[in-house]
Homo-oligomer: 609 residues x 2
């Protein structure tokens, strides 16, 4: 089945989707946030887009109600109502974009009022007067005070040393960058419009960075990389072990993650024609181990009882001390964490979903290599780590890969099997969603048993079709199911075991938290599935493989990479930082390793439903 | 004339003095501060010392009144009353020592209550509990809170990285060093008693450091060095020029002064068996140029109109950023300044003499290479720089040297000339006091004329004795007077010109300040002569050469290196720092270069009185 090409304007971004996707979903996937406070139900009318080319389709009753006749004539439609069945060019107006100043986690909108610590101010006429000689720093302070409320400008020794030389070279006109009252940069001419920040989500397997223009709080671009630390261990435990067993192991892992961030910084700034010098703030959310490695701080205490981090608190550090290639004195804010294995990414997700302030009892599941589960509401919130392993992000899976061009992301089974490849190219591997769909499909046709065994042809005795049976190969280490012969793309017995282990960890973890809060299944009002992977998963397949220990009754919502949304929130709002710091204190933690019932529940959860 | 040996106990310090010195004066000179709030007038009884060996002398009426009979029998006397005429061993009891917590500037005692930002606290039992797992930094914080009032411990990234490793290696017992709420060091075992600081006076020619035990606020030792920057220029202007004209000139001068401080640190710590790691605070007072060079901050703005510093304010910086070989995160506090040419040393002197808070109108003259003059009282205070050059510290004088072993410091003239050498060794050169006495003597006998000319034998025609005339040598570049033939120690015409220039700068500067405050000579209640050199100068000689533009009527007091006393005050007291910062704002400044009358007054002041 071919994907349909859609172009989003004015950026000219080209994306592909399957027939029947809504414009809202596709834009989200393309990294373009569209307002939809009603959750895509066609009630708020905030997701207005204009169809420039392609069939505009029949206007439905909600559009009629919410869009003016003039606008309808011009081609405006609701992004949440309009499904895509053919090639289109769609304009997304500024007014419909989120993050301005609203932040949206698919369907959940939190009002985030930007509140930056950062200010850029251009001053001229800075040469000290002969009649009233004033020291250079104090002259700068006087000029700044004319513009902003300010008690006293502080300058670290490196900046202090530059003041004289820069003022002279810049003819006593310069732009000053202040972080609170701390001078962090002195720049030639008026650069006040060049003011950027990057919000990072540091995943065990995937690292994502979002470039934000801090002058108007707009997201300019998103870039991601596989975490280069994966070659030293797929999960956090193996990375910690690497730092303990290998000489300079910590240094190696630290340098790799810094290199990775620098690559993302380079990509984002090059693409947008921005000087890295004009990036003054960076926020980091990641699991606690990733944050330790990022800071070059030993994670050893996380590996030995009682598994505590060096600190639960936020850490603020100048970019130059971490060798990040942005402005030397840019402020790097590393999120607080909740516990040794529930980190800043979980805080980011809670922040983005507002779980800590809602009356509604929700279960939040962040599906990642080091996944987290958070259960509760504004009364009580408790979290646990589900060490699901990298299966869902394509790690440790024979043909696994991230959801990018060449990845099989959809699988259709009937008499034979067919699939969809992202980008309509030759397939290269299978991403998480493809893996779940394939597993669900093979379970349905009985090729995989409930116990997870990939059966041999003999065992099946012709019950699935010949074409399907023909794809089974028997190998010394367990059977294998061939998806694409030519490209040698298959799923192995070992892959299925990985999926079982991962989903059992989530299921058992969820049950422990429910017990901790004395919550029954029917009391949970909604399940939020977070993680980049969670955006595109098929609910039916997910439940079919038993990713959640529930029946089909609880509403499940996919909220995408909400950790990154949390990272953006703390980037643009000082208040969000205080809130994150509050969540770190408020949210409880259950150590699953130490929970007597967890192991038992884990084993119970290994079979497929 | 031979000097008398005196040993001070319990340190066993051996010093030499001329007959007739008081014990108080000699102790001061030996770097042992003795309380004397009455100014050495025998009224307070605070300077009690015990004469262990040597003649105790006749008890005078003041001693009878102030010392108990028992103590008199044991050999206790008043240090200010007792003069030394023969070898002695003298014990100075703890109770008589100043800086505990009083600070004394010869005869002026200011009560300084120690108020340290620094705390060292030993904690054990730091391993995180399994029942209530707490992050490492927060565990430390909890333990510290049991001991001291504390809101929240902060740790920079370098300290944070050490926490886990150190706690583990130190078996979860350690001493924590806090500067305010900032953790600056984590040490093995209980090192709470090992807590030191160094107060520096950064002179253009001489650098002095005083090692203070911060646990009991006692001065342990003092060490000094010639500022190694002298080879790049004798005065501040030539040093600034060096930074401007020579590539990497600033770097060179900066590194030299840092090397010099490191040498002093090494000497002080070695002598006292202290680890440099246990030095956590350093204070710096110096003229504004010295402070810029120390901070590696370009002094160029000081050299061009309107001659302003980079900042007038205090600068606080971690030792590692300046490459000082003490504890990495030791706090270096660089004093605020008053203007481009009146620096932290002047603030130190004002602070030590309390000039800014007294009702009495005083003139403060700090005699150094870059000397300062401060006139006023608590109503109004105004300062100027007198670029006297290094003559008084022995710089740019043919046989000049600092007042140390081998220096001729006293000169006696009659039919012939005789002199005293510090340490009773072979003479090596002449120090500042010797130079003044020699000049005064030669003026008196007419060998030097009022215009400063060192006359030829022919001109003098036998009016002084033959022996004196015989010491005059005629040279192409002006005459020379030989003090010591064998060792080639002499004073040259050029030396006398240096003295003239220096004293003219002081005299003209003083007159300009008097004009600025509309003060007549008779309104000045006291003159305070500061500077290491000022301690031992002979008043009569000083006035004879015209170092001050006054008659003999105004009381003149020598107060020694009061800049260093100020540096000690800001080392031990947070309140003194606030006071120093206040003086920086309160004290006015007169730019002599720009004063129309200064040049004229300067020329008027060149002749000797």
């Amino acid at each position: 089945m071919n994907q349909i090409k859609v172009i989003f304007e004015p950026e000219g971004k080209e994306v592909y989707c399957l027939p029947g996707s809504t414009i809202l979903e596709l834009a989200q996937r393309a990294g373009i946030g569209i307002n939809s406070p009603c959750g895509g139900e066609g009630r708020c009318g905030k997701c207005l887009v204009r169809i420039i080319q392609g069939e505009r389709g029949k206007i439905n009753s909600r559009e009629k109600e919410l869009i003016s006749t003039d606008k309808l004539k011009e081609g405006y439609r609701l992004a949440c109502q309009r499904k895509i069945y053919q090639e289109m060019v769609i304009e997304i107006p500024e007014t419909s974009r989120f993050f301005n100043p609203k932040i949206l986690v698919k369907g959940i909108t939190r009002e985030v009022l930007p509140k930056l610590n950062l200010k850029k101010i251009y001053c001229d006429n800075l040469s000290p007067s002969i009649d009233e000689p004033t020291a250079l720093l104090e002259t700068i302070e006087q000029k700044l005070k004319e513009r902003i409320p300010l008690k006293r400008v502080k300058a670290n020794i490196y900046l202090l040393r530059q003041i004289h030389d820069k003022l002279r070279r810049f003819s006593f006109k310069a732009t000053f960058v202040l972080y609170n009252e701390e001078l962090i940069s002195i720049e030639k001419g008026d650069t006040t419009k060049k003011n950027y920040g990057i919000a990072f989500d540091l995943g065990t397997t995937t690292v994502v960075g979002s470039l934000i223009n801090l002058t108007n709080i707009k997201e300019l671009d998103v870039a991601s990389r596989t975490n280069p630390q994966v070659t030293f261990g797929a999960d956090v435990i193996s990375r910690i072990n690497f730092t303990l067993k290998k000489e300079a192991g910590l240094k190696i892992l630290h340098e790799r993650i810094i290199d990775c961030l620098n690559e993302i910084i380079l990509e984002l700034t090059r693409k947008r024609g921005i000087s890295p010098e004009h990036i003054y703030e960076v926020t980091i959310v990641g699991n606690t181990t990733m944050q330790h490695l990022f800071l070059n701080s030993s994670p050893e205490s996380l590996a030995t009882s009682p598994y505590v981090p060096t600190t639960k608190r936020e850490v603020t550090v100048a970019a130059k001390k971490l060798n990040l290639h942005i402005n030397d004195d840019a402020v790097v804010y590393v999120s607080p964490n909740i516990a040794g294995f529930v980190g800043g990414d979980a805080i980011g997700t809670i922040l983005a979903t507002n779980q800590h302030q809602e009356r509604e009892l929700r279960l939040l599941v962040d599906i990642g290599t080091n996944g987290e589960i958070v259960l509760g509401n504004r009364k009580r919130l408790v979290a646990a780590s589900a060490a699901a392993g990298p299966a869902f992000e394509g790690g440790q899976i024979k043909c696994g890969m991230r959801a990018m061009s060449g990845a099989i992301d959809r699988v259709y089974i009937d008499d034979d099997i067919s699939y969809n490849v992202i980008g309509n190219v030759e397939p290269v591997g299978i991403c998480g969603t493809g893996l779940i769909e394939l597993t669900a499909a093979l379970l349905k046709v009985g090729i995989i048993g409930k116990n997870g065994r990939l059966k041999s042809r003999d065992e099946l005795k012709g019950s699935p079709s010949f074409s399907l049976l023909n794809r089974i190969r028997e190998r010394p280490k367990g059977n294998e199911f061939i998806l694409e012969e030519k490209k040698e793309i298959s799923i192995t017995q070992a892959d299925i075991r990985q999926i079982q282990l991962a989903k059992a960890a989530f299921c058992a973890g969820i049950k422990v938290l429910m017990k901790e809060l004395s919550v029954r299944e029917e009391e949970i009002e909604e399940v939020l599935l977070a993680g980049a992977f969670g955006s595109f998963i098929n609910v039916r397949s997910a439940l079919a493989v038993g990713l959640l220990p529930f029946s089909f009754k609880i509403p499940i919502r996919f909220i995408g990479n909400s950790a990154l949304v949390g990272s953006k929130m703390i980037l643009i709002s000082e208040d969000a930082r205080r809130e994150a710091e509050g969540i770190s204190q408020f949210c409880g933690y259950v150590e699953l390793f130490r929970d007597s019932e967890f192991q038992e529940l884990f084993i119970d959860s290994l079979p497929f439903p």
